[in-house]
């Protein structure tokens, strides 16, 4: 069937949504709750488009013959901006210390829509200290921070309740808890996350609410330590993932260069024939034998989406780093280069 988007005719298939067609045709529509393969729930209200004079979420609007859609106009822009700003209101000011800084979908949109002068909460100085405390209390009423599980670091302060983690989790560990402004996305009874740690939630999370658990300072120390021999073991397919996450952070597209820049001395790439984790665990032994380096001076970084290996705490796998953690290392290295961070 044919539908009209911004006065241009496009072909659309039965059961497709307006967002599907726009994505395929390269028409940009911002979304925060939608994620590949997940149900379209119309939660974030950013993918709004105009149809028949009304604002509708393009992720839930099915196409029909002769449908006319407008994806950009003043009204749409206004709606997206206000809704973004509502999300941004208790989020602003937290980017500088956030693990996802520069890799955050909310931050990217806030930049794109130039949300800086948010006006839903009063400024310091306009209100008394007691009132400010009240505001903070309201905003923090149900913040849950959990770092006790081995793989996923959770901070609901940064959560925008998009439900991606709820929908993506194969073990259904997360729920949309409570009601109204008390809503918290989290585990039942706020208990420590205990699952098989597939990492899909951290991959799907648009903000810094769900990130990889690690001892970041120690990782950087080990990479910078000239006495340590740092080996990056790259899992099959991880290179594309890393480059995708790094995206805008670094212009460098050569992963080897990036890794060496981070302080890795050796890069090992896994092929189809040696995907077994035992192979990775043997690397330390082998290097110690062949290169005559003390075992304790070899640091193995298994760079992989198999973050559940972290939970096993094997002495031959010093670190398991996901594509996101590598991106974070790259980001911080870039900042040092630009003199933004002094170390």
């Amino acid at each position: 069937m044919n539908i009209k988007i911004n006065n241009k005719i496009y072909e659309a298939k039965e059961n497709e949504t307006v967002l599907d067609v726009c994505k395929r045709e390269g028409i940009r529509i911002p979304t925060l709750c939608g994620f590949e393969g997940l149900p379209r729930e119309g939660v974030c209200r950013l993918c709004l488009v105009e149809m028949g004079g009304r604002l509708m979420t393009s992720c839930t609007a099915k196409v029909s013959e002769g449908l006319e859609v407008i994806t950009e106009n003043e009204k749409i822009e206004k709606a997206r901006r206000i809704n973004l700003e509502l999300l941004w209101a208790d989020h602003a000011g937290k980017c500088a210390t956030c693990k996802k800084n520069q890799m955050c979908e909310l931050q990217n949109l806030a930049l794109e829509y130039k949300i800086e002068n948010f006006h839903f909460i009063p400024r310091k100085g306009e209100i008394t200290g007691a009132e400010e405390l009240d505001l903070i209390k309201d905003n923090w009423s149900r913040v849950v921070v959990e770092n006790e599980n081995p793989c996923i670091s959770r901070n609901s302060e940064l959560c925008i309740e998009c439900r991606r983690c709820i929908n993506v989790c194969p073990e259904k560990k997360f729920g949309f808890n409570y009601r109204g402004n008390s809503v918290v996305v989290g585990t039942p009874y706020e208990k420590v996350l205990d699952c098989s740690f597939c990492g899909k939630c951290a991959e799907a999370c648009p903000t810094g609410a769900l990130t990889d658990q690690n001892d970041y300072v120690k990782i950087v120390d080990d990479l910078d330590n000239l006495e340590k021999f740092s080996v990056a073991v790259l899992d099959l397919g991880i290179e594309e993932k890393i480059l995708k996450v790094i995206g805008k952070i670094s212009p460098e597209k050569d992963l080897n260069k990036l890794l060496i820049n981070l302080g890795f001395e050796k890069i090992v790439k896994l092929g189809k024939e040696n995907l077994k984790i035992e192979f990775v665990k043997n690397i330390k032994d082998e290097y110690s034998r062949t290169k005559k380096i003390n075992q304790q001076d070899i640091v193995i970084f298994f760079i992989s989406s198999r973050i559940y290996e972290k939970a096993k705490k094997d002495k031959n796998l010093d670190y398991v780093l996901s594509e996101r953690e590598v991106a974070r290392l790259v980001r911080d290295k870039e900042k040092i280069k630009e003199g933004k961070i002094k170390m």
Partner: protein, 149 residues
């Protein structure tokens, strides 16, 4: 009296989705709240995830997911009760018991502002531990609370 257990509460319900809400309500009413342990048993019984049981339970006012204080005071602050001075009553309870509405700081008292119960002609409406009081005034408030203190 036979001690109610989660098992014999669940015996009243077939393990169908439609019975999840009634079973949660009953459990909350009998034990005061739905505990983590009981939620787990219910999840198994109904064949759904614990997260599902908890998100459903935590959505509804009548189902509690944490242990409640000894004395739970709920006062309606919807429009009809408001024009009958329910905010004055709320303020008075806050002063008398030295608590803040909505705060869980005290283990003994909790004051909640709640939505309309459909008793608008007889506002302000107050509920203490499930017992409903109507047309509450500052002076009647004192005698009501005395029963519980």
């Amino acid at each position: 009296m036979i001690r109610k257990t989660i098992q014999n509460i669940l015996l009243e319900f077939e393990p169908k989705a439609k019975n999840i809400l009634p079973a949660l309500k009953k459990t909350s009413a009998v034990f005061g709240y739905v505990s983590e342990e009981n939620a787990k048993i219910m999840a198994e019984y109904f064949g759904v995830s614990e997260s599902k049981i908890f998100e459903t339970a935590s959505f509804y006012d009548e189902i509690r997911t944490e242990k409640q204080p000894d004395i739970l005071i709920q006062i309606c602050n919807s429009a009809n009760c408001t024009i009958n001075n329910s905010f004055e009553i709320i303020g008075e309870v806050e002063n008398l018991l030295k608590i803040k509405a909505g705060s869980s700081a005290s283990l003994k008292f909790k004051l909640e502002e709640i939505s309309c119960l459909g008793r608008c002609a007889d506002g302000p409406v107050m509920i203490v531990n499930g017992k409903i009081y109507e047309r509450v005034t500052k002076s009647s408030l004192h005698s009501i609370l005395e029963e519980y203190l």
